[in-house]
């Protein structure tokens, strides 16, 4: 319950944080700390240096710029959940934030922390895949942009170097998207979480993006469900048929004391249906 000894450094700017990351060995960024600190207390994680980025103003806040929405990586789940801008322009993101953990986690935990940690049952990754977000990342070699679909690589493993920081997530405004989640009742991690986003023109679905979390080691798209939707009318029969094949072909489904692999497999279909119904209701 007591972590091993570590150095604590508070960065006052993005560049200072990057410099501290590259000059310390075994350094970890501390944002909200609601994933990292419990791991340190269990001594599953023993960073030598913590670089606190909790007070850097550049990485906080939600803005609309040139038609895109940007959320700073240091923005808390609570700020996302209660953002009027997101409620109006991308309600699925605010909905998702409101489903994360408990009030303490939502008041401290941040978007960037959740994305960088990439817990297999984290909520944001599924939504970021569905809304086709891109992440702006800064490191020792300057800026780069990574699409959500390229960012999540494996359990706790993302496309982020040791000296890099996620600065913000950018995406187009979207109404017709929804997140449906089966909560683990104690931790409120997603046993299964599905985010669906749909584009409809002339009465037909033009594109669909489905993000799935909790099912395997990391969040993934469901291309077979997306293909089953394209060109169809957004009605119940279409949703039922597409949700009926959700998760098919997916291997290495998680199994733990909260849910067996078989149960998760069944719930992927149920929550895909609910997410699609939610997205259609917002058309």
């Amino acid at each position: 319950m007591i972590p091993t000894e570590f150095d604590y450094k508070r960065a006052t700017s993005l560049d200072e944080a990057i410099q501290l990351l590259s000059s310390s060995s075994e350094a970890k960024l501390l944002a909200g700390g609601h994933s990292l600190i419990p791991l340190m207390k269990l001594r599953l994680s023993e960073p030598e240096t913590l670089v606190d980025i909790g007070r850097i103003p550049d990485i906080k806040g939600i803005r609309e710029r040139e038609g895109k929405i940007g959320i700073g990586a240091g923005t808390t789940h609570h700020e996302v959940e209660t953002s009027d801008l997101l409620r109006e322009k991308a309600p699925v993101v605010a909905d998702c934030a409101g489903e994360i953990g408990d009030p303490q986690v939502r008041n401290r935990g941040t978007l960037g922390g959740s994305l960088a940690h990439a817990d297999p049952a984290a909520d944001y990754p599924a939504v970021m895949l569905a809304i086709d977000a891109e992440f702006h990342i800064k490191g020792g070699n300057g800026w780069r942009t990574v699409k959500a679909s390229d960012f999540f690589q494996d359990m706790f493993t993302v496309d982020l170097a040791d000296d890099e920081i996620i600065v913000n997530a950018m995406f187009d405004p979207i109404q017709s998207a929804s997140y449906a989640k089966l909560h683990q009742r104690a931790s409120h991690y997603a046993i299964i979480g599905v985010a669906a986003a749909l584009g409809v023109e002339n009465g037909l679905i033009q594109w669909a993006r489905l993000g799935l979390t909790g099912a395997i080691g990391y969040a993934v798209r469901m291309p077979n469900v997306e293909e089953a939707l394209i060109g169809k009318q957004p009605e119940q029969d279409t949703i039922d048929a597409a949700a009926g094949i959700a998760g098919d072909g997916l291997e290495d489904i998680n199994s733990d004391l909260h849910a067996s692999a078989e149960y998760r497999r069944a719930m992927i279909k149920v929550f895909t249906r609910r997410a699609l119904e939610g997205a259609v209701a917002r058309l």
Partner: protein
């Protein structure tokens, strides 16, 4: 907790068998292996620095190979302890010909104690699969290097 899976090598069964049981190849394929000492026939003392992102720790333990049935199957047992707790794993490794290559199927059991077990109910299976994946990928390199 039970685990099982398989990996396909593009190499004949004899070559895969030789690599899987070769101490040098085994050492190279163990994720984060910092120390690997032979202590007897098919028995080794190891130090592993295992890490998946923030979850990183040093484990001291042993590796044993038993129930050898040449080019067919063997049992691999790994036992280790570190600050977050203890992990024991044992798996039966079965080699079969598969097209021009070799399929290695593993099935076994992992037990954890301490903090790893507390976290484990949710993450142990995934972590084990990831480390086993790394093991086979590196072993694949070893097999290819030997063929070259």
């Amino acid at each position: 907790m039970e685990i099982s899976g398989e990996y396909h090598f593009d190499a004949p069964r004899s070559a895969v068998w030789a690599a899987l049981l070769d101490p040098d190849a085994l050492q190279a394929a163990m994720p984060g292996c910092e120390r690997f000492e032979e202590t007897g026939p098919d028995a080794y003392d190891i130090t592993l620095r295992v890490g998946i992102s923030a979850i990183k720790g040093t484990y001291e333990g042993t590796v044993k190979v038993t129930e050898r049935s040449p080019e067919d199957s063997y049992r691999l047992s790994v036992d280790g302890g570190g600050k977050p707790g203890k992990v024991q794993g044992t798996a039966l490794m079965q080699l079969t010909e598969d097209g021009g290559g070799t399929r290695v199927a593993y099935s076994g059991d992992i037990k954890a104690q301490g903090a790893i077990a507390r976290l484990g109910s949710r993450l142990l299976g995934g972590s084990a699969k990831m480390l086993i994946g790394q093991f086979f990928k590196e072993m694949d390199k070893q097999v290819k290097q030997r063929a070259a």
